[in-house]
Amino acid sequence: MELEQARNAGFLGKNILGSDFSFDIKIKQGAGAFVCGEETALLASIEGERGMPRIRPPFPAIKGLFASPTIINNVETLSNLPWIINNGGAAYAAIGTEKSKGTKVFALAGAVKNGGLVEVPMGMTIRQMLEEIGGGSATKHPIKAVQLGGPSGGCIPESLFDTPIEYEAINATGAIMGSGGMIVMDEKTCMVDVAKFFLDFTQLESCGKCTFCRIGTVRMKEILTRICDGEGTMADIDTLEELGEQIKDASLCGLGQTAPNPVLTTLKYFRAEYEAHVKDQRCPAGVCKGLISHTIIQDDCTGCSICERYCPVDCIEGELKKPETWVIDKDVCINCGMCVEVCKPDAILVA
C-alpha cells in the first residue's frame, strides 16, 4: 500500500517527480528458507528456482538476477540510507569505530532483564550492552556467554565481554555479527546443548547441495546428541572439531561455512563442559536429561505437594506437610524439570 501511495505521489515509478529518472520497487515474498538469506540462493529463489546457492564468481554484481548485474542489500542497510541522506555521510561515519562505522541493530534476548531490538553505536563492548541496556542477568545466575550472529554465529564467553562490537573484533572471537541476534545465557545453560540446538536448526535448513553441509552437519548433530545423552567418547570431540573445520572449508555458501561456528566456539571456550559430559558423565549446567537426576532435598522441602501435582509421570510421592516422606522415583522420572520449575523453596536438587 505504501508503494502504491509513493507511486501515486510520483516518488516511485516512471519519471519520478517529473524528472527523467525512473525507479520502482517490487516486494517479492520468499517461502522463508534460511538458506535464501544467502545472496545467490536468494536470487535463485526469486527466479523461481530451488533456493540453492550458486558458485561465485560470477558475482551478482556482474551477473545476478536473471543474469543481469545485481546489487543485494539487507533491509537494515537500506534503512540507514534516509538518515545518511538527511545528515550526511560524515555524520554517520562519526559514529562507531575506525573500521566499523555507524550503528548496528541487535535482537537482544535470553537471560537479560531488558530484551528487544536495540540499536547501538559500533564500538560499544558486549559488557556495556548487557549491563547498560540489558540490565544484567534476569535470573539469579550470572551470565556466562552470549551467542552472537544467529544460529550460525558463535558463543562468546564472559571473559571476552570487553570485546567491542565491531566486525573485526567479533570475527576474531570465532563468532560473527551476522543477523545481529544476541542471545544471553546464564550459568544454567549447557553449552553442548546450546550448540546442539543451533546445529539442529542449520542442518535442517541446509539446502542439501554440498556434501559437507548436507551430511556433515547431521553427523555433528548426531555426535552432539550422543554427548548430551552421555554416550559420547573423547574421540567424538576430536571428530566434531575435525568435521567442523572441514565443513567450514568445503562448503559453497555462508550457511555451510558458518554452521559449525556454535560448536567450534563452544569447543574453544567451554571444552571442559564437553569433557565433563564424556568423562564424568555429568552435565555441569544440569540440562542434559541423559546425565542428570532429580532429588528432593528434604531439609528444604515444605511437603506442599505441588511437585506431585505437576509431575507428568507421577513419580513423586509423599505425605502432605511431612517433608521427610517426599521422594522421587528415579526409575520412572524422565528428568523433565517440571518439579524444579514449580518448587517454591528450591528443594529439588539437579545433579
Binding site: A33, V35, R50, M52, I55, P57, Q203, L204, E205, S206, C207, G208, K209, C210, T211, F212, R214, I215, G216, T217, V218, R219, E222, T239, E242, L243, Q246, K248, D249, A250, S251, L252, Q257
Partner: protein, 986 residues
C-alpha cells in the same frame, strides 16, 4: 581468442586461457581431479566438493570444477589438506550411502566368484557365458558344483524373501551343460618365458595352474599320487564326485599348456631346492592335508584302525581294504559321512559314533540324511576312550557316554563324559574321521625350510601366500589347514597373482576394492525384502532313493541328478540382484578405494528409501543417491524435460520426479541420460538380469535409428550385448542419445524372428524368375548397404526406392530422436526415387523398409531385416542387428559417422551386406573396402570414404537433402517394443 595467463599448478608454471576452470587446466596438464557432480555435458555445479583444491591466499578450499583460474594463481591439487578434505567428503558420502556393492554370495564365497553375474547368464539361458564367467575365478566349477558346501547360499538375500537361491546346483547345471559342449578352455596369456613349479595337483594347485597360464607363465605340476584332483578325487567318493566329469574338467586346465609329473613326491623324489636349481622362478606348495588326525587314545596305531582320509584314498587307489562285518566311524563331518557310505558299499554294517548330538554335527544336513537312509546307525554322545586289542589287532572300542555342557569357543556345547558309563563295543574296523593335518615331513630335508605353525601348516601371508622362503609360496589345506575345496581354489588364484607380481619383480601386494554392505543376513529384516517379491520355492536337485544309490553300479554310480534346464533357468530368475548394478563402474567405489575412505569413520543414520521400479526402463534406488544432481541437470539443462528434481532439503534431500510420482507420469522419454551421468548405482536401466551386471568390453559405434548419427558405446559381456551408453565427449548430438539408441539392443536379446528355410537361395530363385524387380530401402541403412541395395536393383534391371513418411512433428525435445527426417542425398545420387503406392512390380525386395500389403499387391516379397517386417513374404531373410554392423552412416548434415561391429556370440550370422551380396551373387559386395572405392568413384563427394583413419565423424562434400521418411522396419519394431512396455514411441 581469450587472454592467456600463467598460473602455478603443483609447482609447475602453466600457461592457460583465462577462461578455463582449475579442473580444465589440471586435466589438460595430466592431473586427474576427482568429481561426482561434474560432467562435460553440464554446467559447473559445485556440490560434491570432491574436486577441491588449495589455492594460495584463498580463505577456503575451492571447487576446481567451477573456479576459474586467475593470473598468477598458485594451485595445489594434491596437498595433505586437499587429500584430507577429499577423504572426508568420501567418508561422509559413504556414511549416507546404502546397498550391497557386491552381492553377499560373492563376497562370502572364498574364491569370490561373480555369482550374481553367472546366475543372470543362466537366467538368460546363456550357460556357456555363465561358465566363462565362473572360470575367471574358479577353474573347477564341475567339481565344486557337485561337492561344494556353498557358504554363498547361507548369505543369499533371497532368504529374506523365501529361500536362498540354489546357487551350487545352478553352477553344477551350467558347468556340466558346458562340459558337454566344450569344455571351455581359458586362453593362455602371452608366454613370459618364466616357469613355476606347482607341488600338488589338488584344487589349489590346479587353480594356480590355470591362472598362472592365463598370465603367460609356464607351469609344471608335481603330483605325488597317480592322478590329479587331490582331496576332490582321493577324499570324496566317486558316487558324489564322478571321475569322468572331473577328468574332463581337469583336462581343460591341462590343455592350456600345463605339464604334469605324476607319482612325484616332494621329499622323496625331489626337493624344493631341486626345482629352483632346475630354473623354476617360483614354487607353490599346495600339498594339501592328507594325514588323519589321531584320536589321542590308547592303541590307536594297531592294525584294524585306519584314518578316514587314508581309508577313502586306499579305496580310490583300488587297494584291498579289509572292512569285515562291522565298522565304526568316528566323527561328525563330511569325511565321516563319506567313510560311512563307502564302508556300507564295501558290505559292512556301519555305526557312526559322535560325541555330541546331531544338532552339532558339522556335516551338511543333506549328507547326514543320505547317510542315515543308506542304513548307517548314528550313535550320538558317544566318545571312544580306548581301542580294544587282541593279538596285536583291534577288535573294537571302549566308549563312554557324554553329556553336553557349556558352549566352547566354537559356540557348540562342549561334551562332558559321564563317569562310569563306559562300555565295550566290537568292530572289525575302526575309522577315526575327526579331521586331517598336512604331512610336512616332506620338507624335513630342505636346505631352506619354510617355517611352520604348531598345527603343522606352513606359516604364510594370507593375503599374498608368501612363505618364509623367498620365491616359495603356499596355498590350500597345507597353508590354512583343512577346509573346503573352493577355499583352496581361491587361494590358488591368489597365489598365482602374487607369484606373477613376484616374477615381474614387483612388490607382492594384492589390493581389495572398497565395498559396502547392507550387513549380515542375520541382521536384516525380512519385512524389508519379503513383500517386494513374488514368492517362489527353491528348486530341488533330484537324488536317487537309497536302495538305488546302494545298488546302481554296486553303489558307485552318481547319486545326485541335479537340475533340469527349465528348472535351472527358473531358479536363476529367482535371484533378486541385490548386488549393485554399478559395481563395475561406480565412481564412489573407485574413489573410496583410491583415497582409502571408510563409511564407518563418521557413521550415522542413513536415509532409507525404497527402490522405485515403476518405470519399465529406468530404476531409481534413492538410498544410493549422493545428491550430485547430475541426473536432474542433464534432464533439465540438456534434454529440457525436467522429469527429475530435488525433493525435500537438508539431509533428506532426494532426487526423483516431483511429489514422489512415478517417472512414467512425467515428460520422461526414457532417454536414460540420467543413468549415464549417475556416478553410483542410483539410476540404472530397469532391466534386471539382462544387464548382469558384468564386466564388459566396449565398442563405440553409430546409431542408425535416425539421421543424427549419435555415438553409442556398446557393452559386451561374455559375448552378449548387455548395455548401451552414450559416449561422453562425442561430437555428435551433444554426446546424448535417446531411448531408441539406448534400448533397441533389447530387440536383439529378445526373440529373434525366424527366416525362410534356405532363405538366400530361395531369394535368388525368386529374383531370377522375376520380370520387374523393385528394391525398397529404408533411409536408415549404412551408405555401404545402400550402395549394395542399389547394385541389387541395377543388376536385376529394377529400380531403387525409399520409403517416405510424414516428417518431423516440430515437438521435438533437444537431443532426442530426429523423428521422420532423413538425409536422402546419397539415395538421390544413386538414382533412388520416392516410393509411391502406384509403383508396381512382380518382385519387391524390402531392405528393412516396411510396405503395406495393399501397396505390394501382386508382387512377391523378399524381405531383408533384423526384425519381422509384418508383411507376408515369399522369402524372409533375417539378418543381424544394425548395432552389430560395420560401415558408415550418412548424417543429416552431410557428414559420415562410422559403425564398428562389436564382437558378440552372433545370434544371426548373416549381415545385411552378406544377404544382399548373396542375392546379387557378387561376393565383392561383402567387402566394405571394395564398396567404398566404388562409391567414391560413383559419388565423388564421398571420396573421404577411402581415406578413413580411425575418426568417428568424417566431413564430406555431400550437400544435405533432408526429406520426410518412413520409419525403418527396426524403428517400427522398437516402437512396438516400447508400446509393449506401456511407453509411447514413434
Amino acid at each position: 581468442m581469450s587472454d592467456q595467463i600463467t598460473i602455478t599448478l603443483n609447482g609447475q608454471k602453466v600457461e592457460t586461457s583465462a577462461e578455463a576452470t582449475i579442473r580444465e587446466v589440471a586435466e589438460a596438464n595430466g592431473t586427474k581431479i576427482p568429481t561426482f557432480c561434474h560432467d562435460d555435458r553440464l554446467k559447473p555445479f559445485a556440490a560434491c566438493f570432491l574436486c577441491v583444491v588449495e589455492v594460495e591466499g584463498a580463505r577456503t578450499l575451492l571447487p576446481a570444477c567451477s573456479t576459474r583460474v586467475a593470473p598468477d594463481m598458485v594451485i595445489h591439487t594434491d596437498s595433505e589438506k586437499v587429500h584430507t578434505s577429499r577423504r572426508m567428503a568420501l567418508d561422509l558420502t559413504l556414511s549416507d550411502h546404502a546397498g550391497d556393492c557386491i552381492a553377499p554370495c560373492e563376497s562370502t564365497c572364498p574364491a569370490n566368484i561373480d555369482i550374481q553375474g553367472y546366475v543372470a547368464h543362466i537366467a538368460n539361458g546363456n550357460f556357456e557365458s555363465a561358465v566363462r564367467l565362473i572360470k575367471r575365478r574358479n577353474p573347477l566349477p564341475v567339481v565344486c558344483g557337485r561337492i561344494c558346501p556353498h557358504p554363498c547360499e547361507s548369505e543369499c538375500r533371497r532368504a529374506l524373501v523365501d529361500e536362498a537361491i540354489a546357487i551350487n546346483p545352478l553352477k553344477r547345471f551350467s558347468s556340466e551343460y558346458e562340459l558337454e559342449q566344450g569344455p571351455f578352455v581359458v586362453p593362455p596369456g602371452e608366454e613370459t618365458g618364466k616357469k613355476v613349479a606347482v607341488i600338488g595337483g589338488g584344487p589349489a594347485g590346479l587353480a594356480a595352474a590355470q591362472f598362472l597360464r592365463e598370465l603367460g607363465h609356464g607351469v609344471e605340476i608335481f603330483e605325488a599320487l597317480p592322478e590329479l584332483g587331490g582331496m576332490a578325487r582321493y577324499g570324496i567318493p566317486r558316487f558324489r564326485m564322478p571321475w569322468d566329469l572331473m577328468d574332463r574338467e581337469i583336462k581343460a586346465i591341462l590343455d592350456m599348456g600345463v605339464t604334469v609329473h605324476h607319482n612325484q613326491r616332494l621329499g622323496t623324489d625331489f626337493s624344493v631346492q631341486d626345482l629352483k636349481d632346475r630354473g623354476f622362478g617360483a614354487v607353490l606348495l599346495a600339498i594339501g592335508a592328507h594325514k588323519p588326525k589321531p584320536m589321542r587314545i590308547e592303541n590307536e596305531d594297531v592294525p584294524g584302525v585306519m584314518g578316514g582320509v587314508d581309508f577313502l584314498r586306499e579305496v580310490v587307489l583300488g587297494n584291498e581294504v579289509e572292512v569285515g562285518k562291522s565298522v565304526a566311524v568316528i566323527g561328525g563331518g563330511d569325511t565321516a559321512m563319506d567313510c560311512c557310505r563307502v564302508a556300507r558299499r564295501l558290505g559292512a554294517d556301519v555305526t557312526l559314533l559322535y560325541r555330541r548330538t546331531q544338532a552339532e554335527m558339522p556335516s551338511l544336513p543333506i549328507e547326514q540324511e543320505e547317510t542315515e537312509e543308506e542304513g548307517v546307525e548314528f550313535r550320538f554322545l558317544t566318545a571312544p576312550v580306548e581301542v580294544l586289542m587282541e593279538n596285536g589287532k583291534s577288535v573294537g572300542l571302549k566308549v563312554i557316554t557324554m553329556e553336553l555342557g557349556e558352549p566352547d569357543a566354537s559356540g557348540r556345547r562342549r561334551p562332558v563324559p559321564i563317569e562310569g558309563s563306559e562300555e565295550d563295543l566290537n568292530f572289525d574296523l575302526v575309522i577315526p574321521a575327526i579331521g586331517q593335518d598336512p604331512d610336512l615331513s616332506c620338507i624335513d630335508n630342505e636346505a631352506e625350510k619354510p617355517e611352520t605353525t604348531r598345527w603343522r601348516t606352513f606359516i604364510y601371508d594370507e593375503n599374498t601366500c608368501v612363505t618364509s622362503v623367498d620365491g616359495v609360496f603356499a596355498a590350500g589345506d597345507c597353508a590354512f589347514g583343512p577346509d573346503i575345496v573352493i577355499r583352496a581354489v581361491g587361494e590358488g588364484r591368489k597365489a598365482a597373482l602374487a607369484i606373477d607380481q613376484y616374477l615381474n619383480g614387483a612388490e607382492v601386494k594384492l589390493e581389495k576394492e572398497y565395498a559396502i554392505s547392507r550387513g549380515r543376513l542375520a541382521d536384516l529384516e525380512m519385512a524389508d525384502y519379503s513383500p517386494r517379491f513374488v514368492h517362489k520355492k527353491r528348486a530341488l536337485e533330484s537324488v536317487q532313493p537309497a536302495e538305488v544309490r546302494l545298488t546302481n553300479e554296486d553303489g558307485w554310480a552318481p547319486i545326485n541328478m541335479g537340475l533340469e534346464q527349465v528348472q535351472a533357468m527358473a531358479e536363476a530368475s529367482r535371484c533378486i540382484e541385490c548386488g549393485c548394478n554399478a559395481r563395475f563402474d561406480c565412481d564412489l567405489r573407485n574413489y573410496a578405494t583410491e583415497y582409502g575412505a571408510d563409511e564407518s569413520r563418521i557413521a550415522g543414520d542413513k536415509r532409507n528409501y525404497e527402490e522405485d521400479t515403476r518405470h519399465p526402463l529406468i530404476k531409481i534406488e534413492s538410498d544410493k543417491c549422493i545428491t550430485c544432481a547430475s541426473c536432474v541437470r542433464i534432464c533439465s539443462e540438456v534434454r529440457e524435460i525436467n522429469a527429475l528434481s530435488f525433493i525435500k532439503r537438508g539431509f533428506s534431500t532426494k532426487i526423483g520426479p516431483v511429489f514422489g510420482e512415478a517417472l512414467t507420469t512425467t515428460e520422461c522419454d526414457a532417454c536414460g541420460m540420467c543413468t549415464d551421468v549417475c556416478p553410483t548405482g542410483t539410476l540404472s536401466a530397469n532391466t534386471g538380469k539382462e544387464t548382469g551386471p558384468w564386466i564388459s568390453n566396449t565398442t563405440v559405434t553409430t546409431c542408425t535409428s535416425c539421421s543424427k548419427g549419435c555415438g553409442l558405446e556398446i557393452h559386451v559381456a561374455e559375448g552378449n550385448v548387455v548395455k548401451v551408453r552414450s559416449v561422453n565427449g562425442d561430437p555428435v548430438n551433444g554426446a546424448s542419445i535417446c531411448a531408441e539408441g539406448r534400448f533397441n539392443y533389447q530387440l536383439m536379446n529378445g526373440e529373434i524372428p525366424s527366416g525362410s528355410p534356405n532363405a538366400l537361395e530361395l531369394g535368388r530363385n525368386i529374383l531370377f524368375e522375376a520380370q520387374k524387380v523393385v528394391v525398397l530401402v529404408s533411409p536408415q541403412l549404412t551408405v555401404e548397404e545402400t550402395f549394395a541395395a542399389a547394385r541389387l536393383a541395377r543388376d536385376n534391371g529394377g529400380d531403387i526406392y525409399y520409403a517416405t513418411g510424414t516428417g518431423i512433428t516440430g515437438e521435438e525435445k533437444p537431443f532426442g530422436k530426429m523423428r521422420g527426417e532423413g538425409n536422402i542425398a546419397l539415395l538421390n545420387r544413386l538414382g533412388a526415387k520416392r516410393w509411391s503406392p502406384g509403383v508396381r512390380a512382380d518382385c519387391i525386395v524390402l531392405v528393412d523398409a516396411p510396405v503395406s500389403a495393399q501397396d505390394a499387391e501382386g508382387a512377391k516379397i523378399i524381405s531383408i531385416s533384423s526384425v519381422d517386417l509384418n508383411i507376408e513374404s515369399a522369402c524372409r531373410i533375417i539378418v543381424s542387428d544394425p548395432l552389430l554392423a560395420s560401415g558408415t552412416f550418412l548424417n543429416r548434415d552431410g557428414s559420415l559417422t562410422v559403425l564398428n561391429a562389436a564382437v558378440v556370440n552372433a545370434p544371426v550370422e548373416v549381415t545385411m551386406l552378406s544377404a544382399i551380396a548373396a542375392l546379387t551373387g557378387q561376393k565383392s559386395l561383402t567387402d566394405i573396402g571394395f564398396i567404398r572405392a566404388e562409391l567414391a568413384k560413383e559419388v565423388s563427394e564421398l571420396a573421404a570414404l577411402t581415406k578413413l583413419n580411425g575418426e568417428r565423424v568424417i566431413e564430406t562434400a555431400l550437400k544435405p537433402e533432408p526429406a520426410p521418411v518412413a520409419l525403418s522396419g527396426r524403428g517400427q519394431a522398437f516402437a512396438a517394443h516400447m508400446q509393449g512396455k506401456g511407453l509411447s514411441w514413434s
